[in-house]
Amino acid sequence: MRTTVNKPRSHMISLEHEAPSDLRHYYAQMLLLRRFEERTSEMYVKAKIGGYCHLNLGEEATIVGLNAALTPDDYVFTNYREHGYILARGADPKRVMAELFGKETGVSGGRGGSMHLFDAERHFMGGYAIVGGQVPLAVGAAYALKYQGRPGVVIAQMGDATTNIGAFYESLNLAKLWQLPVIFFIVNNGYGMGTAVERGSSEPNLAKKGASFRIHGERVDGTDVIAVRDAVRRLRQKAEQDHEPAILDVVSFRFRGHSVIDADRYRDAGAVRRGREKFDPITSFATRLLDQQIADQAFLDTTAQQIDAEVQAAIDFATTSPDPQAADLYTFMYATPVANTPAADDALRAVRINRGEE
């Protein structure tokens, strides 16, 4: 049974031209994502979090590298595996955790949950849970940027298995036909649930999926934060300046099952264990930082402590935050109020009946 996809190892580029503070920041961000997800998994087991919950474990360099190449003008649309993206974009971990807890203080007011995070201010345009559904939306955002003559590009994040659905291909065609500033950012963790890439795609080299549309594609090592950042930077510039869309196939290793409740039985346990070591984007980056004397063990330790505290604070905040109220059931139904829509009173009454309080 195969457990990894053909995985490019990027040359271990020397870090000497990098600003050390950037590198340390990447490290801290990656660690935040890692710890956030580990604690999220714990909270799920404690039933503080419900629904489906997909973690970014193993994809930290992919996410932080992407984010490092973006500007505040850019917009990001993702799938349901998006905790890390909104955090990297700068959303407050407190409000992200509160969303996972379904609280009014959550980034989506407790309405969305793990799969539907949103942060308008930071141009994080949502996690979407219908496979492929976010891709046309992202192309539409790129359409608006171009139409409105604004700077920036749009990231259409998706998983490897998402490249088999019709909406993806229609989106590629429209993006190229209309020359839109969008990057199709494929997080290739080798699997769609239990289906390995080559069992779902007749062309398993996903960078080539633009070939029917004259769209340029590249593959990059998704466990190397610098490689990802640089690849996105290059494609981003072409997208913004020449309105040239592109595909980036970002290869990484999925540390766990598809979602927190997936026991991952279809992968060989030993291979998964080895993969988690071999392809850990954080430990390898830590080694590089230490080797190249950009950080010392004290920095790593302090960072870990700070992040642990930050994530704990997020959990505390989420725990003590209030639930959305029954009277607000219809609050976000319509942006423009019109006649004959139910109101707070109706909500209170209906919810009381359903709860047996009336």
Binding site: Y75, F77, G106, V107, S108, G109, G110, R111, G112, H116, F118, D119, A120, M125, G126, Y128, I130, G133, V135, P136, L137, A138, V139, G140, A141, A142, Y143, A144, L145, Y147, Q148, G166, A167, E170, S171, N173, L174, L177, T331, F332, M333, Y334, A335, T336, V338, A339, N340, T341
Partner: protein
């Protein structure tokens, strides 16, 4: 005040809205160079250019999604889907995305867009080109669904739809495009969510929308001569549904017939009949009668096809059956 066809009313309103707001764009198949499959967008490409009037490839799922994404960034796309039958390839974007984005993200995003599309059957278009699916959209919270029956309402509701910050499904009808009516020249808007009593009567309330309202009005006139006084409630909006206007009317007439072009079971008439018996039970002298399409994939053969659709005849029959 001008006399316009339903088509002209739509066409001019689109033009005016394009002129009024730079963020309004039209998107759809064959709406530009071809001038629109049913000529609703005729002349608009010439007038506003390809930046505002956008011909799309045949990729409904894709370009409806593009319109939603663009709306999230402040544009106000007005999409034409050639007929409602083709909405099925785009329905995931409409129902799983557009209708949920405002609510699911806690009010942080808006989707101000309109999807215009003709529903229903006419002229032997057969099984895949004669369907009505407005009940499906009306079922979905987060959408607004309107279905004007005449040029006046078409203009007023289209304006309201374009200026509304939510996704609006705007139901048209091939068979109405050439019908004429008086249309004011001023910038009026018809509120979404409000039905209208289009004709007052004493004996029975007929509830309908879109083309069937025209049929109902014709039948009302015909029956008037026989001494049957018919009140016609035109729903205009299917979501939100204006239950109070329907109920108030039925409480006065004590009889109700609902007519719609869609299939009988699980169609729009079911909701209206269920609502009436629920809220005006004690006022009803007879069951609410439903008139709707016979439940077959519409056959092509001319007579059989026509006979499978509700008609003025079947409405008259229904009215008589509950009044006797």
């Amino acid at each position: 005040m001008s006399i316009l066809t339903y088509r002209q009313a739509l066409n001019r309103t689109l033009g005016q809205e394009l002129a009024r707001d730079e963020q309004v764009v039209l998107m759809g198949e064959e709406i530009g160079l071809f001038q629109g499959s049913y000529r609703i967008t005729e002349g608009l490409l010439d007038q506003f250019g390809p930046r505002r009037v956008v011909d799309t490839p045949i990729a409904e799922e894709g370009f409806v999604g593009v319109a939603i994404g663009a709306a999230m960034l402040g544009m106000r796309p007005v999409v034409e889907i050639m007929t409602i039958n083709f909405m099925l390839v785009a329905i995931d974007q409409v129902v799983n995305h557009a209708s949920k984005i405002h609510y699911m993200f806690g009010g942080q995003a808006r989707v101000p867009m309109v999807i215009r599309t003709p529903s229903g059957g006419t002229g032997q278009l057969a099984a895949t080109h004669s369907q009505s699916f407005e009940n499906w959209f009306a079922y979905c919270p987060g959408l607004k669904v309107v279905a004007p029956a005449n040029p006046y309402d078409a203009r007023g509701l289209l304006r309201a739809a374009i200026r509304d910050d939510d996704p609006v499904i705007f139901i048209e009808s091939l068979a109405l495009y050439d019908t004429k009516g008086e249309v004011p020249d001023d910038d009026y808007v018809i509120p979404i969510g409000k039905a209208e009593v289009k004709r007052h009567g004493r004996d029975v309330t007929v509830i309908s929308y879109s083309r069937m309202t025209a049929v109902a009005l014709q039948v009302a006139q015909q029956l008037d001569a026989e001494g049957i006084s018919v009140e016609v409630v035109d729903l205009r909006s299917l979501r939100p549904l204006d239950r109070p206007t329907i109920i108030e009317s039925v409480k006065r007439t004590n009889h109700a017939v609902v007519i719609a072009e869609d299939w009988y079971s699980y169609g729009v008439t079911a909701e209206i009949a269920a609502t009436i018996q629920e809220e005006a039970f004690d006022y009803l002298d007879a069951p609410v009668k439903r008139v709707a399409g016979l439940e077959v994939p519409l056959p092509y053969a001319k007579d059989l096809s026509a006979a499978a659709k509700p008609s003025a005849h079947s409405l008259v029959h229904a009215i008589r059956s509950i009044l006797k």
